[in-house]
Amino acid sequence: MITKEATEITPVPVRVTGAPDRRPSRHRRAWDEAPRWQIYLPLSIYLVFTLVPFYWILLFALRPAGSTSLVPWPMTFEHFEKVWNERDFAVYFQNSVLTGVATLLLTTGVALAGGYALARFDFRIKRGFMLALLCTQFVPGALLLVPLFQIFAELKMINSLGSVIIAETVFQLPLSMILISGFIRNVPYSLEEAAWVDGCNRLTAFRIVVLPLLRPGLIAVGSFAFVHAWNHFLFALMFLSDQTKQTIPVGLNTLMSADSVDLGALAAGGIIAAVPVVLVFAFIQKWLITGFSAGAVKG
């Protein structure tokens, strides 16, 4: 016991600074043993880097135009009203929500079916299909803009949100499917078999036994799909030329590329763009990490 303590203390000469690290011996786990300042100092420096930009946009959104104060006081909501009503962000918001939710449902549904097949069956083209899924990761959506545009023009889907929803879904699918098949593989097959023996068919067994266990994984995958669709810019920019069909990122870009940028409106628009994503994120954060550690890296 004594030697253990000794070996622990020696490798950290910085202790001399007197960091308050006399912790009870039940916390002896070495990976847990970093002096407090080694945690809080870099963490706070990084937090400044992370939070100042957020504060900055909040500041610009809330202080009156032309103000140079570093606190948003007197506070005003004029920028929000302007962006929401005059710059059509109300419409963009609606379009973005529609695109995001539709992509989420389509991606999760299709990936769930495919992921189940990959996890539970051996079939002839399985290896080839898996390889194709991986290969798609190297296919840049940005570089396929022109042929995609031609396809959607052929399908008469230019200027309809459907084109963006399909394009987003297609590029979300491969990774979602790989992740979901990993999650399903983590659920013992014997659980399903037991349900069959009890008289369930495959679908009911899946619904009752497997689906509840997939919850964290599905939440991670679904929110990924939503956030991607919500954030994605290029497809919406290319496929939707009609002002009333555009999404929030395109609206932000319009604000930014104006000759003289209205910084207050840009900031308010940015916050409108951020709110749903931040909410989703706050909600899923716990599941995200468990979801990933359950399936992602093991593939």
Partner: protein
């Protein structure tokens, strides 16, 4: 159990036959929607890019359209300095961005994996830019970098730098300025993935190492890092491909400028096809980009001996 089923009433055998008959077609039915979507909207476009790369195809100059052989490729490699410039910039961008993101992401993950007061709040705040889009990142950093009321103004108030500096329109500062903006959003990606993988390191290993008197730095090199290796290889690869292909941040933040200084290959391709309508040439450039990506990924996976540690 099997006996009971055999003795059971007539309905049992057909049900069992059905159960064994469905699975043969079932997997194909299940992957069909995904396969069809990917065939129609990924495979077909890719093939058409390959096809157009061998064509002169420009809707605004239809009289020149037709088979071009390898002319487009020859032109790119021998006669187009912009191709080389943008390719070099892309490589530089990916290398610096992924390297720094990994470094900071790893450090952050190790920090927030410790036990300390305020950990869950700390994690949430550190990860928060993860979900912010490229365009929103641009919007935020446009506000920070603008010459009138941006961060430089307040720095100048404190005596650092000059008033009216705009980091995004100066060729000497635009690269670091754009790098920092993308780091802000990119680091959490690595931090999240690495933190997820850190959860699965067996605590026994650390206890054993501790008994053997290994320092924390040694434990990191000999236990943590080897454990993380596959996750790191995979996430850097995915991120590199993603950074290479991603255009929204640079498109909206700098527009590829000033003076083409921050134009990546995909941005150049987008300009060639969208603004100049030169689809044939853009397709050839796309093909080149695709081959380069694939080649680099193969080499990277081979060199890093991905997945070799476990089996």
């Amino acid at each position: 159990m099997a006996q009971a089923a055999a003795v059971a009433k007539p309905p049992a055998p057909p049900r069992r036959r059905r159960a064994s008959a469905t699975p043969r077609r079932l997997p194909y039915l299940l992957i069909a929607p995904a396969a069809l979507l990917m065939l129609g909207f990924i495979a077909y476009p890719v093939i058409s890019v390959f096809y157009y790369s061998l064509q002169n195809y420009n809707p605004t100059k239809p009289w020149r359209n037709g088979y071009a052989g390898f002319d487009n490729f020859v032109h790119a490699f021998t006669d187009d300095p912009q191709f080389w410039d943008t390719l070099t910039f892309s490589a530089q961008w990916v290398f610096v961005e992924v390297g720094l993101q990994l470094l900071f992401g790893l450090a952050l993950a190790l920090i927030v994996n410790q036990t300390f007061v305020g950990r869950s709040l700390g994690r949430a705040l550190v990860f928060s830019p993860w979900a912010v889009s490229g365009v929103l990142t641009s919007a935020i950093w446009v506000l920070l970098y603008n010459s009138q009321t941006g961060i430089t103004r307040y720095l100048a108030d404190m005596g650092v730098g000059e008033y009216g500096t705009s980091w995004l329109s100066d060729t000497s500062t635009v690269f670091p300025a754009a790098i920092v903006a993308d780091l802000w959003r990119g680091v959490p990606f690595f931090a999240i993935l690495i933190l997820a993988d850190l959860q699965s390191v067996s605590k026994d290993l650390y206890e054993a190492a501790e008994v053997d008197g290994a320092s924390r730095i040694k434990q990191f090199w000999h236990i943590t890092l080897p454990h993380l290796k596959d996750a790191i290889v995979l996430s850097t690869l995915l991120r590199a491909v993603w950074e290479f292909n991603n255009v929204d941040l640079l498109y909206t933040l700098t527009g590829g400028g000033p003076a083409g200084e921050t134009t990546t290959l995909p941005l150049y391709i987008a300009n060639t096809s969208v603004d100049a309508h030169n689809f044939g040439y853009a397709s050839a450039l796309t093909t080149v980009a695709f081959v380069i990506l694939l080649f680099c990924s193969m080499v990277y996976l081979r060199l890093s001996k991905f997945g070799g540690g476990e089996k």
